[in-house]
């Protein structure tokens, strides 16, 4: 049947668009020494003016960090030497801006290049922008603030009326003992956002945070804490990028989402870290009765990723939807997926992912669905499809299920494939060249995620795919 005379080889592409960087002078930045010691943790805590409980929590986390071992089961993180990572780095002039013009020129230009101020004007209710370790820009539209919606950097929130709320939630869902990088996060976290949507408020326009890690050899450890109160709705978008360096960078953020009774949160991510990044991020949502979490996750960047957003369905009728796409190119080992814990009756989860690998990239889908005895009448459906663009690439699927009640409805479907020669021929026979035909097939393959994204992000995702597929004439 199908005959290919030569092995398909797909060239890698130039993604230098994200690599621009405005050089800062050494004396304009403040940073701690490389590595991780009690002194460094105390220095960060002092620098941030932590309340005492937070300082003590950090030290506790450091202890846990030293006790836990590195994960032994996923992609190799041998290239990551914690002694070389700068855990805290920020521009010396520490001031949160509420207007882009108030930012230092180089930082402002970075975000202008990434199109953030424009997106804010056109389609967002509020924006936070983090540059290395600190949020440098924050602004919420008046209409949004009037609804009682709180969207601020987490440090300010710690020093205001929401301190108690933060203390009651901070790393309660992702305890530092969860894994080594959760402990690391607890010790050196900095930046991130706090969002509170009051009861019954429907925030139709999304909020967005953009994370930019600009310094070589640095780590970013932002914490995102979102509480959507009863019956409320919110859409939160995060975007991330970094220029490429030859040294390892580390991202160990933590996202904790609390979705109260009857509330819905949509959490969208387009992750496009540079390919020297170790992305060891932890995201978790706790969903109460009739609440719903909708994860939309696009993973395009990073050298190594461990990313499994988890939904804890703890109230009757709670729902989780996870839609994800992962694209692993040359030198990338992306281990992504999701976890769901059904811990109440009549809960449901729906998982739908696509992964694409090319030029020797490795993409692994890993999922875990646990249905406890309490979760009678629950439903879960897992569908994952993988596409390998060439013969050098690899794709694995590791779905795990632990079902403790017979009164539930569980479905699983996995498919691994290649771009079919039939389809390429069909599209080319109408006049499309091979590169366009292949890009179209891959975009179509990832379309389930594209459809879930706000338009401008769908366009960005398609551009990324197009960029990645350049020069892939097989």
């Amino acid at each position: 049947m199908a005959q290919k005379e030569e092995k398909t080889v797909v060239n890698d592409i130039d993604r230098s668009f994200y690599d621009f960087r405005f050089e800062e002078k050494e004396d304009e930045i403040f940073k701690v020494d490389e590595g991780l010691t009690e002194e460094i943790v105390l220095e960060i805590s002092k620098e941030k003016g932590d309340p005492d409980w937070m300082r003590d929590f950090r030290l506790e986390c450091l202890k846990t960090y030293n006790e836990l071992s590195f994960p032994q089961w996923g992609p190799s993180i041998d290239g990551l030497d914690m002694n070389n990572i700068i855990t805290y780095i920020r521009p010396k002039e520490k001031k949160m801006a509420a207007k882009w013009d108030e930012l230092p020129e180089d930082i402002k230009n970075t975000f202008v290049n990434l199109g953030i101020p424009k997106a804010e004007r056109e389609s967002l209710a509020g924006v936070g922008a983090q540059y290395d370790s600190e949020l440098v820009y924050h602004n919420v539209k008046d209409e949004t603030a009037k609804l009682g919606v709180v969207y601020t950097d987490i440090e300010s929130a710690l020093h205001g009326p929401y301190e108690g709320m933060i203390r009651d939630h901070f790393m309660h869902l992702v305890p530092p003992t969860d894994h080594k990088f959760a402990a690391l996060h607890g010790a050196v976290w900095s930046g991130g956002s706090f969002v509170y949507v009051p009861k019954g408020i429907h925030l139709e326009i999304p909020l967005q945070s953009y994370f930019r890690l600009n310094a070589p050899g640095a780590g970013q450890f932002e914490h995102t804490l979102i509480i959507v109160d009863e019956g409320a709705y919110c859409h939160f978008i995060e975007g991330c990028s970094a220029p490429k360096y030859n040294v390892a960078n580390l991202h160990a953020g933590c996202v904790e989402l609390f979705i109260e009774k009857g509330a819905t949160l949509r959490y969208s991510t387009i992750e496009n870290w540079s390919k020297n990044m170790y992305n060891l991020n932890t995201k978790r949502a706790k969903v109460e009765e009739d609440g719903k979490i909708e994860w939309v996750s696009g993973s395009f960047g990073s050298h190594v990723s461990y990313l499994y957003p988890m939904s804890v369905l703890s109230g009757r009728g709670a729902k989780s939807e996870f839609t994800g796409v992962t694209f692993a190119g040359a030198g990338q080992d992306l281990d992504t997926g999701t976890k769901v814990l059904h811990n109440a009756p009549d809960t449901s989860s729906y998982i739908n992912t696509r992964s694409i690998s090319k030029s020797g990239g490795i993409s692994t889908f890993r999922s875990s669905v646990v249905v406890t005895e309490k979760a009678k009448g629950s439903k879960s459906s897992v569908a994952c499809e993988s596409l390998m663009i060439d013969d050098d690439s690899r794709s694995d699927t590791i779905p795990a299920m632990d079902i403790r009640t017979s009164d539930c409805d569980i479905g699983h479907e996995a498919r691994i494939g290649r771009i079919s020669d039939d389809t390429v021929f069909y599209l080319m026979s109408r006049g499309l060249n091979e590169e366009d035909a292949r890009a179209l097939i891959v975009s179509g393959f990832a379309d389930n995620v594209g459809k879930e994204l706000p338009l401008e992000y769908a366009v960005e995702m398609n551009n990324l795919i197009r960029l990645e597929m350049k020069g892939t004439s097989g």
């Binding site: 005379e5 026979s429 006049g431 060249n433 366009d436």
Partner: protein
């Protein structure tokens, strides 16, 4: 006098080192309608795919010329741009692009010119009417979830929208009910009436040919053309089968 549009000379083609076409000669002039008949596995579909430049087949010998230009070994997109069209026996489902956007991209790729969305929409709507297609299909993903009949109609819709110089219809009538065959052949007549394009119809049955004037019939057996004649050959095969042309 119509010009020689497609000239195939001594064409040998193989897949996985297995020769399937053993020296095909075929000349089609503009405005002509040719029919290729033959038993299953004779290489009819292979011939269509090879002419369209399917890279899975290797041309071992021979030449293919379109409007006097040598197109042997060109990629399918280049052959398409020179005016050839293949209606697939099994049209492929492609999620992520709508039928309408696909046809528009195809026209733009072939002509290198941008077409105005509004003009295109109007034209597509009127063509869909000819084929008795529900206009909502234009906004559905290409062939995804289409019935067998709708897929074939979508192929003919592309034929009409792209108006190629020559179209190869590979078993366009197979698997269709009587009404659908009638609609599809109306579409094919529309193409014949409005262009001076030529047709090569690969078929098992004669239903689709009823509304068309056949200029030339070729019988393909085991990768060779074993008999050629005018339109009456179709009736002969219809009555007596391929028995007389096997060798």
């Amino acid at each position: 006098m119509s010009e020689e549009l497609l000239v195939v000379k001594g064409l040998f083609a193989s897949v996985d080192d297995k020769e399937i076409l053993h020296g095909i000669d075929l000349t089609v002039k503009s405005n002509e309608t040719h029919v290729i008949m033959g038993p299953n596995g004779a290489g009819k579909s292979t011939l269509g795919s090879v002419l369209m430049g399917d890279p899975r087949y290797k041309i071992d010998k021979g030449t293919v010329k379109l409007s006097g230009e040598d197109i042997t070994g060109l990629t399918p997109d280049k052959i398409a741009k020179k005016g050839m069209f293949l209606s697939f026996q099994n049209p492929i489902e492609v999620p992520g692009i709508t039928l309408s956007n696909f046809i528009r991209s195809s026209i733009e790729a072939r002509t290198g010119e941008h077409i105005r969305v509004w003009d295109f929409k109007k034209r597509l709507e009127s063509l869909m009417k000819v084929l008795d297609m529900d206009p909502s299909y234009a906004e559905r993903d290409l062939n995804v979830g289409f019935s067998g009949g709708e897929k074939k109609k979508a192929e003919i819709l592309q034929l009409l929208a792209l108006s190629p110089k020559i179209a190869i219809l590979d078993e366009t009538d197979s698997g269709l009910d009587v009404d659908a065959v009638k609609t599809v052949s109306d579409g094919i007549r529309e193409y014949k009436d409005n262009t001076d394009g030529a047709l090569i119809i690969i078929t098992h049955s004669t239903k689709i040919l009823e509304a068309l004037t056949v200029d030339r019939t070729h019988v393909l057996v085991d990768g060779r053309i074993t008999k050629e004649g005018d339109g009456s050959l179709v009736d002969d095969i219809n009555e007596n089968g391929f028995e007389n042309y096997l060798r």
